[in-house]
């Protein structure tokens, strides 16, 4: 049994969308220790719909799809490391976002899936990710991917990771944070 991987991460303006953070956070905290397939699908749908509803506030992003087994295993571990090492998270609060006069604040939201291949889900994701190279970093492409995540049948998902930076709104990322080398993989969207 082989694997493929689909991952997507976005950076969105936290200060301009005060409702986005609690929505995304709920998609994580409402997933209990043990969870069924449909419940999982609903919570991912909640997260992707929330991001779609704020697509214009997504400024940077990155996504992957690989159907190579070794790459999938390796990259899943890497994406997971982004959470377990807490590499992107701030070490101290940045202050409450001020939508009128404050500095920009950002959140990042990451979803990663290790998928059974071959499977209908893998096939559907493969089709979803057929994006010409010159369009990879367009905002509407991210909209297509987020909107298409409903094709994921969690019966074909071996493992998944979902994480949000920050958890609390006074720990948002600043523009200076995002300018750091560790975030350069997040490309500016057109």
């Amino acid at each position: 049994m082989s694997s493929s991987i689909f991952s997507i991460e976005v950076a969105a303006r936290l200060d301009r969308a005060p409702n986005l953070l609690p929505l995304l956070r709920s998609a994580i905290v409402e997933q209990p220790q043990a969870i069924g397939l449909h419940q999982k699908w609903l919570l991912y749908k909640r997260a992707s719909d929330a991001l779609l509803g704020h697509l214009g506030l997504i400024e940077r992003g990155c996504w992957d799809y690989f159907d190579d087994d070794a790459r999938a295993e390796k990259d899943f571990k890497m994406w997971l490391g982004g959470m377990t090492t807490e590499e992107g998270a701030r070490r101290q609060p940045s202050g409450k976002p001020d939508p009128y006069r404050g500095e920009p604040r950002y959140l990042t939201f990451t979803m990663t899936f290790l998928i059974v291949r071959p499977s209908p889900t893998d096939h559907a994701l493969s089709r979803l990710c057929e994006i010409p190279e010159q369009h990879l970093w367009r905002r509407d492409v991210f909209g297509r991917l987020l909107g298409g995540m409903g094709v994921i049948n969690f019966a074909s998902v071996r493992s998944d990771v979902m994480y949000l930076i920050p958890r609390d709104d006074d720990w948002g990322l600043t523009a200076a944070d995002l300018a750091e080398e560790k975030f350069h993989y997040l490309r500016s969207l057109r």
Binding site: F66, P93, Y185
Partner: protein
């Protein structure tokens, strides 16, 4: 009997969780289909090196194809060094340059090979300061190909992409340069003057062309064009291409006249352009390399005339702060001259008017915007004003300041301050061997993610 619906079996179990103010997240695992990692790796080994089927789509293809290659890390390397080694379009082969204001005049492409010689100073004493870097780029060929770029578009020399340009801004700058030359040509006070032209590349070249009948241009363009360059050096080069025959003609005329021409150092004012995203831009910025105070004095300089774009943007850029402070300390007088101090004379209806006045110069551009005011250049030279009217020659006393490009103290020989990473490009390097695989900007974000962070693998 019960009204409760049967709950579907929970198939995912949470394996890891992070819950802190700065981050929250979790990983879930479906045991029923999960393959133990050890088993999965054993299976891979059994493939005996056969690469499994890979996606051939979008962002993934570039990255997936690299699976058999070594682990990589990103390291900054000198942008110009990389271009000289791997070609001017390093990391963006196949991408095109955009030229505004293409000239329709006949163009001798073979003359591009002569640019470093044609545009070199005529005076031997000025030659050591000439920076031919930009003019060497059209004919330059890569010495090697990055090992990770085998699938990229074939290299095309810059000379094939280059076309001359002639824009209205260049035409204006050309006439402004001519007008300045008309003044410097006639007065003995100019014999101790050195001119520094610091305008956006194409206008700087045009101004120099206009003044080249009198002054000896010393170009200081220390970069190469790039399709994603922060500095639009290709436009500077295209302007130089347009004026190349004129520069040759002017140099020949100066040399045959036997007159010693004063130096005119020519800078691209966009050399420090702001730079934000090394994932999509190529940092071909550079700093000015003006002579030291001692060397300027050795060239006979008592006054340095600094030509900026206009009355507002007329002071030196940050990379010149220390130089200018050193010049002042060495008793070299500094005078600021906005290029817009030279304007076309117009009558009350706004039409060009070259009648009357007190100068032999026939324009069409005059200092102060009129024939009558043209000679007041020398009045301002002798008694420069420091008043609110700044669209004219003014004396200048630089204030030392600390910037990313200056130390705030006059220095004449110490290395110049530069921000970290200035003029560099991130490249993918094979860990272990150090072999350069390619430019980071030629890779998709997935490539960046895979190798550019310390998370995961």
């Amino acid at each position: 009997m019960t009204n409760k619906q049967a709950q579907p079996p929970a198939t995912f179990t949470r394996q890891e969780i992070v819950d802190k103010p700065g981050i929250i997240g979790a990983r879930w695992w479906q045991e029923s289909i999960a393959v133990p990692r050890r088993q999965a790796m054993t299976g891979l080994l059994a493939l005996g090196g056969v690469v499994a089927a890979m996606a051939t789509i979008g962002t993934c293809a570039v990255v997936a194809a690299r699976d058999s290659e070594p682990e990589v890390a990103f390291q900054p390397r000198g942008a110009l060094d990389m271009q000289k080694e791997y070609g001017w379009s390093f990391g963006a082969t196949g991408e095109s340059l955009v030229f505004d204001g293409k000239s329709t005049q006949a163009f001798d492409r073979a003359a591009l090979a002569r640019m470093p010689d044609d545009l070199a100073p005529a005076e031997a004493s000025h030659a050591p300061y000439f920076v031919p870097t930009l003019f060497q780029s059209p004919k330059a060929l890569p010495k090697s190909t990055p090992q990770g770029e085998s699938g990229s578009a074939p290299f095309a020399p810059l000379e094939d992409a280059l076309v001359p340009i002639a824009t209205p801004g260049m035409e204006t700058a050309f006439e402004q340069g001519r007008a300045l030359a008309s003044l410097l040509e006639q007065d003995p006070r100019a014999q101790n003057a050195t001119v520094v032209v610091d305008l956006p590349g194409p206008e700087a070249v045009a101004f120099a062309a206009g003044a080249s009948g009198v002054l000896d241009p010393v170009f200081l363009f220390d970069n190469w064009p790039h399709p994603r360059g922060v500095v639009p050096a290709h436009l500077t080069l295209a302007a130089a291409t347009y004026y190349q025959p004129l520069f040759v003609k002017a140099k020949t005329a100066r040399q045959s006249s036997g007159r010693h021409a004063r130096p005119m150092f020519v800078l691209d004012r966009k050399r420090l352009a702001s730079y934000t995203d090394d994932a999509s831009q190529f940092d071909n910025r550079h700093t000015a390399r003006l002579p030291s105070a001692a060397n300027l004095i050795a060239l006979g300089t008592k006054t340095l005339l600094y030509v900026g774009p206009n009355a507002v943007d007329r002071q030196e850029l940050d990379d010149l702060v220390d130089d200018f402070a050193a010049y002042t300390q060495a008793q070299i007088a500094l005078e600021l001259l906005p290029a817009t101090a030279f304007d076309r004379e117009r009558d009350s209806a706004g039409a060009p008017n070259a009648a009357g006045g007190t100068t032999d110069w026939n324009g069409p551009y005059f200092y102060g915007g009129s024939r009558a005011a043209h000679s007041t250049f020398w009045t301002h030279w002798s008694a420069p004003e420091n008043g609110p009217w700044t669209n004219q020659l003014t004396a200048y006393q630089p204030t030392p300041r600390v910037t990313p490009f200056s130390s705030g103290t006059p220095t004449s020989s110490a290395p110049r301050t530069r921000p970290v990473g200035f003029g560099t490009v991130p490249v993918a390097v094979a860990v272990g061997t150090g072999v350069i695989l390619g430019a980071r900007l030629s890779r998709s974000g997935s490539w960046n993610r895979t190798t550019g962070t310390s998370s995961g693998s």
